[in-house]
Symmetry: C2
Subunit: 215 residues, 2 copies
């Protein structure tokens, strides 16, 4: 099967569509035109149609989009219809927060193990999970089929831990360490960097330059 290459910008918008459609479902809206969705999301209607055409379109002329169907289809595109098995490595402030935040209610992301290198943390509970020592990661990943590793380790440890994770066959890393891990790992491994500090710096810039800012 020939696979179409989808641009990063489209992929960035898909979770946003998913979110708005979820909200519309909660409001009891059953169908929506691209124009109405466009006004809600501040994206042009033609952009919306183009984005959806990447996946074969989902609308019917003159009818608009069936909200529930579109939500479900975008969920499938985002691979949210299967449960991902997740480990979190590094239970500092952010890792602890993510471990607590991701445990309940998340159908698509199942946190099965949380790890830290600090012996003082090992054995402590975060929600229903007990912090394990990082040395147990190897055996854990072999016993459980882990899809995603969340890396919330200090910057200097990030590459080492990432390489370890990749060597165990995990191909997706949600990286919170302030380092561009995607540039350091073999092809075929996908990394999503969340660089909080850089986001805060952009806010700092924009707060001083509200006129000098264009989208």
């Amino acid at each position: 099967m020939e696979e179409k290459r989808i641009s990063k910008a489209v992929i960035t918008r898909m979770p946003r569509y998913y979110r708005y459609l979820g909200e519309l479902m909660d409001e009891g809206v059953e169908r929506i035109s691209s124009k109405a969705l466009s006004e809600k999301m501040h994206i042009t209607a033609s952009q919306i149609r183009q984005d959806f055409n990447n996946f074969g379109g989902f609308g019917q002329q003159g009818y608009g989009y069936n909200v529930r169907y579109l939500h479900e289809e975008i969920g499938k595109i985002l691979a949210l219809d299967t449960a991902h098995n997740v480990v979190i490595i590094g239970i500092g402030n952010i890792g602890h927060a993510l471990a607590a935040y991701m445990q309940p209610d998340m159908q698509s992301f199942h946190v099965s193990g949380i790890f830290d290198a600090d012996p003082n943390k090992v054995g402590r509970q975060v929600g229903a999970l007990t912090i394990r020592h990082i040395d147990e990661l190897d055996a854990f990943v072999k016993e459980n089929s882990v899809d995603i590793a969340v890396l919330t380790v200090p910057r200097d440890y990030a590459i080492g831990v990432a390489e370890k994770v990749v060597s165990l066959g995990i191909k997706a890393i949600w990286n919170f360490a302030l380092i561009d891990l995607n540039l350091k790992l073999p092809k075929g491994v996908v990394v999503e960097n969340v660089h909080l500090m850089e986001s805060l710096m952009r806010l700092s810039y924009n707060s001083q330059n509200t006129d000098g800012f264009i989208i």
Copy 2:
């Protein structure tokens, strides 16, 4: 003074330059060519020169960039040379993590107050700070000159809290609630959204479509 409008893409790269230059300083590197920086960052040298030209350039032909000077200048552009006074509203998992994470070592961002609506949380300590009741925000902001509000409140409260914050004269919001606050607030207020869930969904997509991904 005429102000030049800088594109969002440039602003997104500036904190990344700042980070790499900080690392070079730590390594004792005193100057670097745009070519060497380009290889390190996987950005073309011409892109780097273009980005810096937005701010008048910083290099000398044949010499390259003075690392410390460039780091300092980019720091000024990002308004990191002045301390921002920050409040954090919503001390759940993420808010708590940010309150703990941002307290030490941050020269440019000074967390002065943390707030929650839950009476059971009020009075508890996070690091050196005591959680205050949200009703105290008004008086607090009037007494302290607050620049930035971090919003880590549940989605349904986000607009209300944001409007409150804006009414108190705070013009920069670092928003973690899963809602596009920038579309809901008056012009002149800058919002930086951190939608963690959407980042995780992109990772989910990319983990299934490593071949279909282009930058």
